[in-house]
Amino acid sequence: MNFSQTCSISAGRQKVWDFLMDMENVSQCLPGVESMEKLEEDLYQGVYKIKVGPIALKFQGTLKFEVRDEQQWHAEMRAEAKDRRLGGGVRALLEVDLTEQGPDQTEMRVSLESHVLGKVGEFGQPVMRKKTDAILQEFARQVSEKLAGE
């Protein structure tokens, strides 16, 4: 499943970049992050919860910064997590691209390629798609709100 969101943030590009390069900030803007701890440079371990009606998923896994290309204003993060109770998992690649729109205006484009595996992927694909899209939207909204509010 592929998703993307584009939003305009009232902050300079460097500021947005620095904000996003801090996993602490990213995890705060991502709805559902239950915990996030650093294992080593660019590698984090966390718990992520998502609820679709009565189905509560609790993903445990890792998040890794794979690309931080400040030249191109492009970053990639890879997430791999499992839900042990339901026997499912998720694999996702989040890409962020920043475009300068003005000294205090930046366009952020976030793209997500995600695969929901196992039972949840099998039976809940359409709704999971919708949920994932909503999460990405919320992420973009939170990022713009946090930066604009600073």
Binding site: M1, R84, R85, L86, G87, G89, H115, L117, G118, G121, E122, F123, Q125, P126
Partner: protein, 749 residues
């Protein structure tokens, strides 16, 4: 000819068992101490298996065994080419591939344990489209293909991932195009359809104290299954004993081992009988659905509207493994009917079967035929329109005739396509005014060979005077055993009640089993001959008992008497007693029919439908299905084949699709993958164009794979007639019609 038993509408011999629930299907087999197996499947389409940790699962209470490829012999399996691992070894090639298996006291416990198995994968680049898989830079799924057991060298290809390339040709295609004034090219695509049988695959294996594997399996070719299992688990074939069971629907899909090797290994490991029953979700993610196909046609036509050259390139998406294909070419034989019911002098058909990281495809009723017929019967209309010829007239100018060669090298006799087509048209509303706007009519036609194969049977006179036929062919629902009963009863002649048919696959060493519309032909023919032979033997025994010459014995009203004297009569039971122990009262034979017969079967269908232009919804108002038939041995079963195939064909044409996105099936239960139900069936008119000429017993013909084939094309042609949009891919859903109409309207503006 008039017959006494042939042609009678007899209910299935299995009827009483089936309507009372007494009939035993594989999942109904319950053995003492039986346990359950469940498999863990790959969530990724292409990956290297880095590690599998089964410890936690093994320690779970109630779990008796957990196996991975490391616990199994390094064998591959398949119906012809052995390319499929029993459990994935080092690598997975599709979402749903089996990675590990658990045996437990209870299926729920086995499921519980699966969740505890940890598999680490390393993802590999995957390819999901057959055309892309043929590109030089595509990931290679099976680099060692050429060394796999039974890989057909004759059909190897240099193209990446192509595991079989077959060419059928007649005439000289270049010469053909040189004769043509006009050349037309079109490409069509079709999708994946599940067989939709109601009984999911099931297997039970019990390894006895002597190491023999007792097998119950939903497999229409049990003798073949015996051999395949023996190879898969490295046992001598005689160490596998196949037990007869009813098959809950086949439609081409029930010819593989599926989980049987796993049942064997689990049974061997635990010393307990093991049952595995696939869920329907597993059927839809890892069954063996119909091959998606891309069909590119190039047709050369003279200015007079005569097709002189026809070239087809058919690319089948084989999925991750070719092991479900049962024919030696390891390709889809139906591709050879891509030239349709036309007697084109120069034809070349290339069929490519290609590995991709999708669900492995298998055979589905008339494999390949509905796909290529949709293409050719759509293209005939396109060409006719382009040339300004009435499509029906264009077809008639080009119909195949007696003596014509088909692309597979068959020279046809008793060709009945013209009569079949005309009967379909006459019985329909063709040419009549239409009741509403947006009503359309479409026609399509096809042919279908009877398959060849090996038949085996035993026939004997029982002590109670019944004649018993023992066949390795199981009951798959087609009424084959009833037909055999009628063949024997008619031949002798005997009352049908005095003939019994029993499936005993374990008594035979080789056999083709059911499939390819062959049973009535190959088994029926053999049984008919054997009946005559047994009757002669019985007559001789009766003669001895009656103390006369065999020529003097007459058989009347179920009794043997001496001609002209009614003093002494013998019932069949009395003859059996008199001949007790005589070997000639029990005959066993094998017969191999290597070639398809030269008389084939034609089908023509006319569909009348109405399109709702606001929604694109299609409502079928009437279907006329016209069949060229010989003698009908059992009209109930015969009609059942026509009706059932037709509705399955409508499902293929309009409703059913195993939807895959990057190898992940999203239609994973029968709430999402919809099968037509009783309210969805259209009014149906069946026309039988009968002539008592056929290759099967009593001049009968095959019918099982006829009605499914042209219907999708007829629907496509009718939609075009109704609203003027042409479809190049299937299924023709309401949404596709809606989109096409919008597109046309916006282009028109």
């Amino acid at each position: 000819m008039t017959y006494t038993v042939v042609g009678k509408p007899l209910g299935q011999v299995e009827g009483p068992a089936k309507v009372t629930g007494a009939a035993t299907f594989t999942a109904d087999v319950i053995l003492p101490e039986m346990i359950w197996g469940k498999v863990l499947r790959s969530p990724l389409p292409h990956a290297r298996i880095v590690s599998i940790d089964t410890k936690a699962a093994e320690q779970m209470p109630g779990v008796l065994a957990v196996l991975t490829a490391r616990d199994l012999p390094d064998t591959l399996t398949g119906r012809v080419v052995y390319d499929t691992p029993v459990l994935a070894r080092d690598q997975v090639r599709f979402i749903g591939e089996k990675v590990a298996v658990v045996a437990a006291e209870d299926p729920d416990v086995a499921e519980d344990a699966l969740a505890l198995i940890e598999v680490e994968y390393q993802e590999l680049p995957a390819v999901f489209d057959a055309e892309e898989a043929m590109n030089p830079d595509a990931p290679l799924l099976h680099p060692d293909y050429r060394s796999y057991p039974h890989a057909p060298e004759k059909f190897f290809s240099e193209l990446p991932n192509v595991h079989s390339h077959v060419t059928w040709q007649v005439g000289d295609i270049q010469e053909g195009f040189a004769q043509a004034q006009q050349v037309f090219e079109y490409t069509f695509t079709t999708h994946s359809q599940h067989q939709g049988f109601i009984e999911p695959h099931a297997s039970v294996v019990s390894v006895d104290s002597e190491g023999r594997a007792h097998l119950w399996i939903s497999n229409k070719m049990p003798v073949r299954a015996q051999k395949l299992l023996a190879d898969a688990v490295e046992l001598p074939q005689e160490q596998v004993v196949v037990h007869p069971v009813c098959i809950g629907g086949d439609f081409g899909g029930k010819g593989s081992l599926m989980d049987a090797p796993l049942c064997y290994h689990l049974s061997k490991r635990t010393g307990r009988p093991v049952k595995m029953v696939m869920t329907y979700t597993e059927e839809l993610m890892a069954g063996n659905p119909r091959h998606p196909a891309t069909i590119s046609l190039r047709t050369g036509v003279t200015d007079q509207g005569k097709v002189v050259a026809f070239q087809a390139r058919v690319v089948f998406d084989s999925g991750a493994y070719a092991g479900f294909k049962p024919v030696p070419i390891v390709n889809i034989p139906g591709a050879n009917s891509a030239a349709g019911v036309y007697g084109t002098p120069h034809v070349k058909i290339d069929a490519y079967s290609v590995y991709t990281n999708c669900v492995p495809s298998g055979h589905v009723r008339a494999p390949g035929d509905p796909q290529v017929t949709f293409a050719v019967e759509s293209s005939m209309e396109l060409i006719a329109e382009a040339m300004g010829i009435d499509p029906l007239e264009f077809r008639k100018r080009n119909l195949v005739q007696d003596g014509d060669l088909l692309p597979d090298g068959h020279r046809l006799e008793h060709v009945r396509i013209r009569q079949t087509l005309e009967a379909a048209i006459e019985s329909s509303n063709w040419g009549k005014p239409k009741a509403h706007p947006h009503v359309g009519r479409g026609v399509a036609a096809s042919y279908r060979h009877i398959g060849a194969g090996e038949a085996n049977a035993e026939i004997r006179l029982e002590s109670d005077g019944t004649v018993k036929v023992i066949t390795p062919v199981p009951d798959t629902g087609t009424g084959a055993h009833t037909v055999l009963q009628q063949v024997v009863a008619e031949t002798w002649p005997l009352p049908v009640e005095q003939v019994q048919v029993e499936a005993r696959p374990e008594l035979f060493e080789t056999d083709s089993g059911a499939g390819a519309s062959r049973v009535t032909y190959v088994v029926g023919q053999l049984v008919k001959e054997m009946t005559e032979e047994l009757r002669a033997s019985v007559c001789r025994v009766a003669a001895t008992a009656l103390e006369c010459q065999a020529e003097e014995v007459v058989f009347e009203d179920g009794h043997y008497t001496v001609k002209g004297s009614s003093d002494r009569t013998l019932t069949l039971a009395q003859v059996a007693e008199a001949g007790s122990g005589k070997p000639e009262l029990s005959i066993r034979k094998t017969q191999v029919n290597r070639d398809n017969p030269q008389v084939t079967t034609f089908t023509a269908q006319v569909v009348e439908l109405e399109v709702d232009p606001e929604t694109g919804q299609i409502k079928i108002l009437e279907v006329v299905t016209s069949h060229d038939v010989g003698t009908i041995i059992n009209p109930i079963g015969h009609r059942g084949q026509i009706d059932g195939g037709l509705i399955q064909g409508i499902g293929f044409g309009m409703i059913e699709e195993v939807v895959m996105e990057e190898g992940q099936v999203s239609t994973l239960h029968l709430g999402d993958y919809k099968l037509p139900n009783i309210k969805d069936i259209p009014p149906l008119k069946t026309v039988l164009v009968q002539e008592e000429i056929g290759p099967a017993p009593f001049q009968s013909k095959a019918i099982g794979e006829s009605s499914i084939t042209p219907i999708a094309a007829a629907i496509a042609n009718a939609v075009y007639d109704a609203v003027g949009v042409r479809f190049y891919n299937l299924p023709i859903t309401a949404e596709k019609v809606y989109r096409a109409l919008r597109e046309r309207d916006s282009n028109g503006e």
